[in-house]
């Protein structure tokens, strides 16, 4: 009985230490994809609106690295990253967009208002492709190399500082 009465206190001290340690850790809510380094999963999606082309896995196997941008017209950070996507397009980067759970008329309106940096825009009404490549939100941008392998994942909107990083990753994927 003598030493056992100290047991609760020691257990509690352990909990206290663990909790104190966890409190000091920054909360990281980004979920990184486990698909980085893997081949792009198979998909073949219809166009998201009139006047654009849909996208399929085979489009990524033509030898040129591309960006795969997961976005939606209802997503506010996507508006914020539109100018950066425009700059990447001007730098000669082909960008394939996948519109998540979107409506054709909304997509058309978004493109009219914020510009169209995309070479293709596909619609993913059930988030199938999004889930398959391990993206947990919009917007997210993936660097895909010329053989169709996922090389890099960028979570959240693309800021000005991120443009150089993405260009570097595209260069490395060549």
């Amino acid at each position: 009985m003598s030493w056992k009465v100290w047991l609760p206190l020691f257990l509690f001290a352990g909990f206290l230490g663990l909790a104190a340690y966890q409190l000091t850790q920054p909360k990281d809510d980004f979920v990184e994809s486990r698909m980085v380094g893997e081949a792009l999963p198979y998909f073949d999606l219809p166009p998201a609106t009139g006047g654009v082309e849909g996208a399929a896995t085979t489009d990524f196997q033509d030898g040129t690295p591309k960006l795969l941008n997961i976005w939606a017209s209802w997503c506010l950070p996507c508006i914020a990253e539109a100018p950066q996507l425009e700059r990447l397009k001007e730098a000669g980067v082909p960008i394939v967009g996948i519109a998540i759970r979107d409506r054709p008329e909304d997509v058309a309106q978004f493109l009219a208002r914020h510009g169209n940096p995309y070479s293709r825009i596909a619609r993913d009404d059930l988030s199938e492709v999004q889930l398959a490549i391990g993206s947990s939100g919009v917007p997210e941008t993936f660097v895909i190399d010329g053989r169709g392998y996922i090389r890099y994942q960028h979570i959240g909107d693309i800021r000005e500082d991120d443009v150089a990083t993405l260009l570097g990753e595209l260069e490395a994927a060549r």
Partner: protein, 651 residues
């Protein structure tokens, strides 16, 4: 002005808590009947009054939607119905913490007013401990979560309350749960007081018992209400998700259940002294640990409170002080408190100890499962612990517990023989066996629900066996309470097992006019129409559902859009029959014009909550019984004193 009055009352209440603590602990060292001891009770009473006043002021601010107060602007909206304005008072971090200290100080005031059984020194130490705990929470409120903070410029309109919380069930769920959590603080203070004075006696247990019972009844009600709310409001079709916040309410309940039973042993048999004290400390510690886990945001939960690491640190320090202090005191003093009366393993005490150990084991399992993600995250591994862990591992201890629960109340105190209760044992075993064979082989039910069904049936009958051969009119109310509560557990167990064994689910995409089947129901989608409420618009599915070809009933599940704050919620529609519930949720419209419908047929699912209510009713009966006995005893004692003084006067 109102906000300032409330704020001032809060400071004054904190000051009185400090006085209560200081005088309570100083009185321990002072001589008998010293002046300092006379301060303890009044300061507890005035503190209770001030805290209630402060809370009333916050209620008032929410009722009139005073948008110059930050908390009101952030959590209310002028367009909200009045009842949700009022419930918005505790639907946020600051307000709910104010409610917490209000309940805590009211409990302290109540002990100070009515509790006369304990020796003065223990009483003062208890109130001192209560003052210390309250002071910590006042400091937390005033320094880091001031509910009365003003905005520099009043907001033009409030941000509104989370629509999920705009529900009548939720208006009453937090207050009941808090009364439970905080009621346990009284048991905690009693335990600390008794440790300080080393006076762990049956009297101490009888004084503590009504508080534990009361807290336990409220906890039970709070958990039942919360579970039902999650069931119909979240639209996921489940009634328990092993979410950290749910576990935070379950853990104190498990500890309080164990405490309740060991208090009974201590009160009637003067045994299990150290164990009871330990549980008294653990029960409230579980309330505080739960609060910490939820409010600090170190665990991810569907119940997103405004998360703030600074607050987390504050609560963690309070935890360290209170729980650490109490456990240290326990370690230092436990060896000087004798174990009390001995008893035989085959006895009422033996059964109660066995179930206490099982309850503690389940508590440890839930605690481990809740904290495990925290532990692995320290090593950069993210896991989520869910039903595949909790259900089977919990069952390992729950199954023997239910079996002993059926038998224990039939045993005599101190020493008994199994042979004496052989007929009852055989009846229980036969019922369980028949149910096992019936459901297992004939209906092919999975193992966990099968055990639940069999034990539920056995326990439902066995819980009434303590009444056999007794004149029902003369059975004490507390015994009725036990019978009803045990029967309630059996009923809830049957509901859980039946839901898990026999539920039918259907995910259908149908056009208006089409019909789909789920279990014995055929459900027709007649139409989908837009409807509007006070602060939302919705698409409402018009369903007509017919049970086994009988007269159809109308069901109207909605997909609601609130505009303050903008959020979409699903309102499930339920059709309740005596033998179960049909549960319908309407989803999105697919591009080809069909509507997604999610339907469940859940046989006897309502038994879960009816059982929970019976458990609470049993607790309430026992509480009333104990209080009546106590009042009677006091009257008799008073009469004896009166007679003695009469006799002395005559002489």
């Amino acid at each position: 002005m109102i906000a300032e009055l409330g704020h001032a009352a809060l400071w004054l209440a904190a000051a009185l808590a400090a006085l209560q603590m200081a005088s309570g602990f100083l009185a321990l060292r002072a001589a008998e009947g010293s002046e300092i001891a006379a301060l303890v009770r009044p300061s507890a009473i005035v503190q209770g009054a001030l805290a209630s006043f402060s809370f009333a002021m916050l209620l008032w601010l929410f009722a009139v939607t005073d948008l110059s107060v930050k908390l009101v602007a952030a959590n209310s909206h002028s367009l909200k119905p009045l009842v949700f304005k009022l419930s918005g008072t505790w639907g946020n971090h600051e307000g709910s913490m104010l409610l917490w200290v209000t309940v805590m100080s009211l409990a302290g005031a109540l002990i100070a007013l009515i509790e006369r059984r304990l020796p003065d020194r223990t009483m003062n130490a208890t109130l001192g401990a209560q003052g210390l705990v309250a002071l910590g929470f006042y400091a937390f409120l005033i320094l880091s979560s001031n509910p009365f903070e003003r905005l520099p410029v009043p907001a033009p309109e409030g941000l509104g309350l989370n629509p999920l919380l705009q529900d009548i069930g939720l208006a009453f769920h937090p207050p009941t749960l808090y009364m439970g959590y905080v009621g346990l603080s009284v048991a905690f203070s009693f335990a600390v007081g008794a440790l300080l004075t080393r006076q762990v006696t049956p009297d101490f247990a009888s004084a503590m018992r009504p508080w534990v019972l009361g807290a336990w009844v409220f906890l039970t009600l709070g958990i039942v209400a919360g579970s039902y709310w999650a069931y119909y409001e979240l639209g996921w079709g489940g009634w328990w998700f092993w979410d950290p916040v749910e576990n935070a309410s379950l853990m104190p309940w498990l500890a309080a259940t164990a405490l309740l039973h060991s208090t009974s042993v201590l009160a009637s048999r003067d045994a299990l002294r150290v164990w009871t004290i330990m549980l008294g400390v653990v029960a409230f510690s579980m309330s505080m640990v739960g609060t910490f886990l939820v409010r600090s945001g170190i665990l991810t939960s569907v119940h997103a409170f405004a998360v703030d690491p600074e607050r987390g640190t504050f609560i963690l320090i309070l935890l360290g002080l209170f729980i650490g202090g109490a456990l240290l005191l326990f370690a230092l003093r436990a060896n000087t408190i004798s174990e009390g009366q001995r008893f035989n393993a085959t006895s009422r005490e033996g059964a109660l100890v066995f179930n206490n150990v099982m309850l503690s084991a389940i508590l440890a399992i839930v605690l481990l499962g809740t904290l495990y993600p925290l532990l692995t995250e320290a090593f950069d591994v993210r896991v989520s612990v869910g039903p595949p862990y909790f259900n089977p591992v919990g069952a390992i201890f729950a199954v023997p517990m239910f079996a002993i629960m059926a038998i224990g109340p039939l045993l005599r105190w101190r020493q008994d023989r199994v042979e004496r209760i052989r007929p009852e044992l055989s009846l229980f075993a036969a019922l369980v066996l028949v149910a096992l064979i019936g459901f297992g082989i004939v209906a092919n039910v999975a193992i966990l629900p099968l055990l639940g069904l069999a034990l539920g049936i056995g326990l439902a009958v066995a819980s009434f066996l303590p009444l056999r051969g007794r004149s029902l009119k003369r059975v004490p109310l507390a015994t009725w309470g036990m019978v009803v509560a045990h029967f309630g557990i059996a009923v809830a167990l049957l509901g859980m097992a039946s839901e898990s064994a026999f539920s039918r689910e259907k995910l259908a995409a149908i056009e208006p006019g089409q019909t789909t089947q789920v279990g014995p129901w055929s459900v027709t989608l007649s139409d989908v129409v837009p409807v509007a409420g006070p602060n939302w618009t919705a698409l409402e599915g018009r369903l007509s559902a017919s049970y086994d070809g009988s007269e159809p009933v109308a069901l109207t599940p909605q997909s609601r859009r609130f505009w303050a704050p903008p959020q979409q919620t699903t309102e499930s529609a339920l059709s309740t029959r005596w033998n179960g519930q049909l549960y319908a949720v309407i989803g999105d419209r697919s591009p080809d014009g069909r509507w997604q419908l999610r339907l469940w047929w859940k046989p006897f699912v309502t038994l879960i909550w009816y059982g929970g209510l019976l458990v609470a009713l049993g607790g309430a009966l026992a509480l009333v019984g104990r209080v009546i006995t106590d009042v009677r005893r006091r009257r008799i004692a008073a009469r004896i004193v009166e007679r003695r003084s009469d006799r002395e006067a005559l002489a």
